[in-house]
């Protein structure tokens, strides 16, 4: 094996070891669809979702928790199938795990205090999206995060807006579309 062959082998291995971003795209698309369906159901049947003081809180805490359990299991399964982990993959995992924790805390506190959690959750989601996009160097996710932050700002400036509509638009632009674009990307980082 000569030196050129050795360099070729090393390059091939470095290329093999690139972080697979497809699971991240599936996560974004899953949450984009999941939250949008939840928002549409809430918007269409407000009397059903808000039939008691606690029902909306339960709806917005427990259904996402089921989604989180499902996605965590799916991510663990995918990681096992891939058979390797990278530093980039670990950083993304930590960032989104912190977001999941923040989401549950904000929802729980909002439920306890009887306030609307949408602006705070969208704000956190916007920050995490910008962070993720910057880490993987993928502009649509950064832009999606910026859109989300703009929507949060608009909720504070014009509080009369329907938070569910803002949620649907924000999630579509911030999660769903960037997730689809990431999935269509041919190369991995």
């Amino acid at each position: 094996m000569n030196k050129v062959d050795q360099i070729k082998v090393i390059n091939d291995m470095i290329n093999e070891a690139r972080t697979n971003l497809k699971p991240l795209s599936f996560n974004l698309v899953f949450w984009g669809i999941f939250i949008n369906i939840m928002s549409i159901i809430h918007y269409t049947f407000p009397s059903f979702i808000q039939q008691t003081n606690y029902s909306a809180g339960i709806y917005w805490i427990f259904l996402p928790m089921i989604g989180m359990i499902y996605m965590t299991r799916w991510n663990i399964k995918k990681y096992k199938e891939m058979g390797y982990s990278t530093t980039l993959g670990r950083v993304i995992k930590i960032v989104w795990a912190v977001f999941g924790l923040g989401w549950l805390m904000i929802s729980g506190l909002a439920f306890y205090q009887g306030i609307n959690p949408v602006p705070d959750i969208l704000f956190l989601l916007g920050l995490v999206s910008v962070l993720t996009g910057a880490i993987i160097k993928f502009k649509p996710i950064i832009l999606g995060g910026i859109f989300l932050l703009i929507f949060v700002l608009s909720l504070y400036i014009y509080p009369g807006q329907n938070a569910l509509i803002v949620n649907i638009i924000g999630i579509t632009l911030g999660l769903l579309i960037p997730g689809i674009l990431l999935n269509r990307m041919k190369t991995n980082e």
Binding site: Q6, I7, I10, N11, M13, Y84
Partner: protein, 105 residues
């Protein structure tokens, strides 16, 4: 460069294993078989040699009822591999070959 290291990495399977582990945090035995295109028996032998040289660390555990072997490069392995890469560059062949590992050193 250390002659022993040069001899160790002269074997393509060992070079593949170490190059792959240099770029990731850890990898399963199954993945190493896939990327090195070697047989189970051969890869076990080569992993053992790399482990004995202190370049990689092997951890065995069970997931459910199935055994799982995870390999990880050690700090000695990282340093040695960087030395090896630098020695390759010193030959000047990286100018003609399509290499992108320079950024990783």
């Amino acid at each position: 460069m250390n002659k022993e290291l040069e001899k160790l990495l002269f074997n393509p399977v060992r070079l593949k294993i170490l190059s792959f582990l240099f770029s990731v945090e850890n990898a399963s035995f199954k993945k190493l078989i896939e990327v090195s295109e070697a047989t189970k028996g051969n890869i076990s032998v080569q992993i053992k040699k790399l482990e004995d040289a202190g370049l990689i660390k092997v951890r065995k555990k069970f997931e459910g009822n199935y055994p799982l072997t995870l390999c990880k490069i050690t700090s000695k392995g990282k340093t040695s591999f960087k030395v090896f890469l630098k020695s390759l560059q010193s030959y000047g062949i990286n100018e003609s070959a399509d290499v992108d590992f320079k950024n990783r050193i």
